[in-house]
Amino acid sequence: MAEAGGTLAAYRALLGAQARAQTAYRTSFVIDLLGNVGATVFDVVTVLVLYGVTRELGGFTLRETLVMVGLTAFAFAVADLLVGNIERLPRYVRTGLFDAVLLRPLGALPQLLLMDLPLRKVSRGLFGLAVWVTALAGAGIEWTPSRVALAVVAPLAAVVFFGSVFVATATVSFFWVESGELANSVTYGGRDFASYPVTVFAGWFRAAFAYGLGFAFVSYQPALALLGRADPLGLPAWAGWAAPGVALVALAGASLTWRVGVRHYRSTGS
């Protein structure tokens, strides 16, 4: 108990240092905060524009699709805030920060994340939350206790899922230095995929992203359960509740990948 409390205090101290360093220049921090909303706004606008030319996408109306957009935007923004910077792993290796972190009596991954936490991205998470709440309010959902629970659990599971994807894809750079583009195509590609009903996509692409990598269970399936719609692709109703399980599997996969990656770590120079 005292052990865990001490570790927590240590992480809190690291976070505090990071906050002080980042907010030292107040004006530029505020500008960063505002600028960071931009990307998420753009995602929502894209969907609105699409529905300007069509009434339905893959059999779903704008109000229904916005539930998926809101869930994905919110969860991805939070995951990006918390663990997104792990995509800088190759830089941490190059500058020796990774060595420094391994020499301290704390977990390497939490240290890296806290020492480089992009606080300016908080604004994106807040905007994502606003989109999520608005979408839920506007979708005409018949609220039951279980749906309320799902509305809370689904974004949390999605945060864990997206976070795991960030870590697992970044870890590939331990083995293969030029893996950045591949990692991006899975993380950002996955986010875009999860913003739309999977019925929009087809063939091997849908199979790979939706079921192979599990992105369908993050946003599309919980949205179906909230809206009370059956899956046009025939998955049973419980699939709407599979998100936490899928997130845990992703988490286990990511932590295994990370551990193997650290074992293969080669450091640099002297």
């Binding site: 240092a17 391994l102 009596p105 770590y265 002297s270």
Partner: protein, 323 residues
């Protein structure tokens, strides 16, 4: 006998991809450390030297839990470095000359305070150690300056302090004097010597600067191509490989016949006979000075330490080495 470090057959192999043809790349394996045995007792001060690429840093990284050995085993403070990395971190301090443990954007003082939380050091202990380092390393002038604005010498004094605030049993130093000016070098060496005198900290030091070793270490381990080629005292090394210190004597006027001394053969005569260079074998500096002073006036006298790269190069060429 209490071994603080016990490494047996430590080996590290890297695979590198080498271009072979336009698109093809071949995987080739490079052995950085090739079966190193190292037993270090509590309180020892060990110099670990070798030419660039000999495997010094790689060994240190395996002993500190940063790199996983390809083969062999190491125990440091009784712990296995990689599986018990976090626990080991509390027992060791590490200074990498070309890496930093400090927070770049924060004042030095804040880094020290953060490390107290990271290592969970009781406030009183932390304050006592910091006070000692402030005195010995003269930190007071720059404690409130962000690390990125410190000079290399100031930063290195900060790094040393950072590595010691949790009271480690073993201090690993990877080229701690690299790039430092003479004054800073002396400050760092003096501090480490003081630490060694106290006797409870074990020190493992890699360096290219033989003066570091001579000042600080009794025992010297030399590695080359990933293997230990010498493990013993510095005197033993010089005896074994015939590396000698040189005495350079500047004279007011050239001697008709340069002095010859038993135990200190004349190496060179320069500057029209006004500069004589003797190699010290069994004779000491005093005998050379006494011999010359009887014949002429000495204008200047300097002693040249044997160059470490030179010693190691000689070592590598020695045919007695097996394998």
């Amino acid at each position: 006998m209490s071994l603080v470090i016990d490494a047996r057959g430590l080996r590290k192999e890297f695979t590198v991809r080498v271009k072979a043809g336009r698109l093809r790349r071949e995987r080739r394996s490079v052995v950085a450390v090739d079966g190193v045995d190292l037993r270090i007792e509590r309180g020892e001060m060990l110099g670990y030297i070798g030419p660039n690429g000999a495997g010094k840093s790689t060994t240190l990284k395996m002993l500190t839990g940063v790199l996983t050995p390809s083969a062999g085993q190491a125990r440091v403070c009784g712990l296995l470095p990689v599986p018990q990395r976090a626990r080991l971190a509390r027992g060791i301090g590490v200074v990498f000359g070309q890496r930093s443990q400090l927070w770049w954007d924060l004042p030095l003082r804040d880094s020290f305070d953060l490390l107290r939380h990271v290592y969970r050091v009781p406030a009183a202990e932390h304050a006592a150690r910091l006070r000692r380092c402030r005195g010995l390393l003269d930190l007071d002038g720059f404690l409130d300056i962000p690390v990125r604005q410190l000079s290399l010498g100031q930063r290195m004094r900060g790094e040393l302090t950072a590595a010691l605030l949790h009271g480690p049993q073993v201090l690993f130093l990877d080229e701690p004097t690299i790039g430092l000016d003479v004054v800073s070098k002396q400050a760092v060496r003096g501090f480490l010597a003081e630490l060694g005198r106290a006797g409870d900290t074990t020190l493992v030091l890699t360096t290219h600067d033989l003066a570091d070793i001579e000042r600080l270490c009794h025992r010297l381990v030399v590695i080359d191509h990933g293997r230990v080629v010498h493990d013993g005292t510095i005197a033993e090394l010089h005896r074994r490989y015939g590396s000698r210190r040189l005495v350079v004597a500047e004279l007011d006027a050239a001697l008709v016949t340069p002095l010859t001394l038993p135990g200190a053969p004349l190496q060179r005569v320069e500057a029209d006979g006004r500069r004589l260079v003797y190699a010290l074998e069994s004779a000491g500096v005093a005998e050379v000075v006494a011999g010359l002073a009887g014949l002429t006036t000495l204008r200047d006298l300097s002693i040249l330490e044997p160059d470490i790269e030179d010693v190691v190069a000689r070592l590598y060429r020695t045919p007695a080495r097996s394998g």
